[in-house]
């Protein structure tokens, strides 16, 4: 699976093994530090938006607050409720934490993409990618891990043996499974344009700003991906999983000490990785901004890719914090309506449109005719869908449902 990295072309030697171990360490440490930083960043920005000071005691600007919290959690008493299913209860935090970390492995964190170098950098005479692994199924691995991450939350709620966590986890699994469909369909549009599954290949395909997938796929998949990604993260305004006013704290109510810390870390880790995935899929990852032939050069040598990546990452980290500070939580029926009746149909329709336009280009058909036919088909499907929704809601009203 790792054969795509030219590091392994000349067989294994000591240097190669050392480089791989160093990469693993860097990815692990960067992941942890990024998560800790994200916790601080969120608290600081939110307190700014709410006219508060926020964490400011531990370290400069309160930067070490997360570390202090982590140490505190570490020394707290580790409780297992009497009615809990103890094996599953202990397993669940790891099921949430491990996938969150593994996603980080397939994201290109930097590298030199100029002049068709394909993100390769040279370390001690060995050419390698600035990402831990570039498996041929690339982005599918991300979908795989996000579908495994559901289990962490689901089993945590169930094994706690009390009502609020169970409600939280049932909500979580329904929400995450339904939004995964929209997520996958919008990734499909990107793959259609990029023509590859590998994350490195997706970044290589976006070498100028007009070929960034946010523009090349026509913005709609990007918007859908951001919304569905937020729902997948269970972040506000989709945080019904741990709605404090209804469910105490949702699936993690019964958790304490280190196990709670793992959930907490996984949540923020997922926020960082989801932002990184958005950057990779839609904004060209570590690619610099290139308009036509002019490239905005940062003059940072081999680090410029990483700096570009971080700059783009920050846009989305800030966006997630901003959403949390601004938007009220959705009602449950609104959440499901948005997922099933709005996002999935639009994502599917847009995917078909892109596919049709691509076939038209390859076969040399008249673009205008194809466009008109697509518009007519999409409009017809839209009318059909709204008619179906209207009929079903009328039927339910007749049966006396609330909404």
């Amino acid at each position: 699976m790792l054969a795509a990295d030219p590091l392994f072309f000349r067989g294994l030697s000591l240097a190669v093994v050392v480089i791989v171990i160093v990469k693993v360490l860097i990815v692990f440490v960067v992941g942890l530090v990024a998560t800790m930083f994200m916790v601080w960043f969120e608290r600081k920005i939110i307190s700014g938006m709410q006219n508060r000071v926020g964490p400011n005691k531990a370290g400069p600007w309160g930067l070490l607050q997360t570390l202090a919290d982590g140490i505190k959690l570490f020394f707290k008493e580790d409780l297992v409720p009497e009615r809990a299913d103890s094996f599953v209860f202990k397993l669940a935090p790891f099921l949430a934490f491990v996938p969150a970390f593994l996603v980080w492995c397939v994201i290109p964190l930097g590298g030199d993409f100029s002049n068709g170098r394909g993100g390769l950098v040279t370390i001690a005479g060995h050419r390698t990618l600035v990402q831990l692994a570039d498996p041929p199924i690339g982005i599918l691995l991300v979908l795989m891990l996000s579908s495994i991450a559901v289990y962490g939350i689901m089993l945590a709620g169930w094994s706690s043996g009390s009502k609020y966590p169970l409600l939280g986890s049932v909500r979580a699994s329904a929400q995450m499974v339904s939004y995964e469909a929209a997520l996958g369909l919008s990734i499909g549009s990107v793959l259609l344009v990029a023509g590859t599954l590998s994350t490195n290949g997706i970044v290589i395909a976006q070498n100028t700003i007009s070929r960034w997938h946010i523009i090349a796929t026509g913005v709609v998949p990007f918007v859908i991906f951001v919304i569905a990604g937020t729902a997948e993260l269970n972040r506000p305004p989709f945080d019904l999983v741990e709605a404090e006013s209804e469910l105490v704290s949702g699936f993690n109510t019964e958790y304490s000490s280190l196990r709670f810390a793992l959930f907490y870390l996984a949540e923020f880790m997922n926020t960082v990785t989801m932002s990184a995935i958005i950057v990779t899929l839609f904004l060209g990852g570590p690619q610099p901004i290139t308009i036509g032939d002019t490239t905005l050069n940062l003059h940072l040598g081999p680090f410029s890719g990483t700096v570009w990546f971080l700059l783009k990452l920050f846009i989305f980290l800030y966006m997630y914090v901003w959403l949390r500070a601004t938007l009220p939580r959705l009602r449950y029926d609104q959440l499901m309506n948005l997922g099933w009746k709005v996002l999935i149909p639009i994502a599917l329709g847009w995917f078909m449109l892109l596919a049709a336009l691509r076939v038209a280009r390859d076969e040399g058909w008249n673009r205008v005719v194809v466009g008109v036919v697509c518009a007519v088909v999409l409009a017809f499907s839209y009318l059909l869908l709204t008619a179906a929704v209207r009929t079903s809601s009328k039927n339910r009203e007749k049966e006396g449902a609330m909404f």
Binding site: M1, A3, A4, D85, V88, P135, P136, I137, L140, L141, L143, M144, S147, I148, V150, Y151, M154, L155, W158, L166, S169, V170, S173, A174, V177, E180, L197, K398, E399
Partner: protein, 177 residues
């Protein structure tokens, strides 16, 4: 190396499969099923069928077993079942007979067809890196009709389930007050 991976993956599959049957608790049985499905995914990766491995995890472990668990939690059947009573009489002896019969059938077919499997030249030419492309090409060109029929079958199943599960409103006599 391949042998080690094979042994570990096979152990995962077998332990999971035994667990599904032996565990009395439905949630534990479902978790064992996940172990089995993961073991199969590892086998796929070892055979360089990366795409199949991904689909195995996304579809089976990520959607179907989640639905199983969802139903178990929602219906609250997570208490252990009482195994002393049989819902249908003579269910167990019949089950044993069927199990032995299936085992015998599968066993003989494996023993008989042991020498038939060979690596052909066409199979050797398929590169692992392109297996997604080859798969897509055969699904959407040679077998497109069968593929579409399968999807129609799934839609029919869903619509049928909804129709069966849905209670049609009875015409109630209008109450005058």
């Amino acid at each position: 190396m391949q042998l080690i991976v094979f042994i570990v993956a096979t152990l995962m599959v077998l332990v999971g499969a035994v667990g599904v049957i032996v565990r009395k608790h439905p949630v534990h049985a479902a978790l064992s099923l996940i172990l089995t499905l993961f073991g199969i995914a590892v086998h796929f990766v070892a055979l360089e069928a990366n795409f199949l491995a991904a689909v195995q995890v996304i579809v089976y472990a990520g959607a179907i077993v989640v639905l199983f668990l969802f139903v178990i939690m929602l219906l609250g059947v997570d208490a252990s079942e009482d195994l002393r009573t049989d819902p249908i009489t003579a269910q167990r002896p019949l089950g044993a007979i069927v199990a032995v019969a299936i085992l015998a059938l599968v066993g003989t077919s494996i023993i008989v067809s042991r020498g038939i499997l060979k690596v052909t030249a066409a199979g050797k030419a398929v590169k692992a890196a392109n297996n997604l492309r080859d798969l897509a090409r055969s699904i959407f060109s040679d077998y497109v009709f069968a593929f579409e029929l399968t999807s129609v079958l799934l839609v029919i199943a869903v619509v049928g389930t909804v129709l069966l599960a849905r209670k049609l409103p009875k015409p109630e006599p209008a109450v005058k007050s």
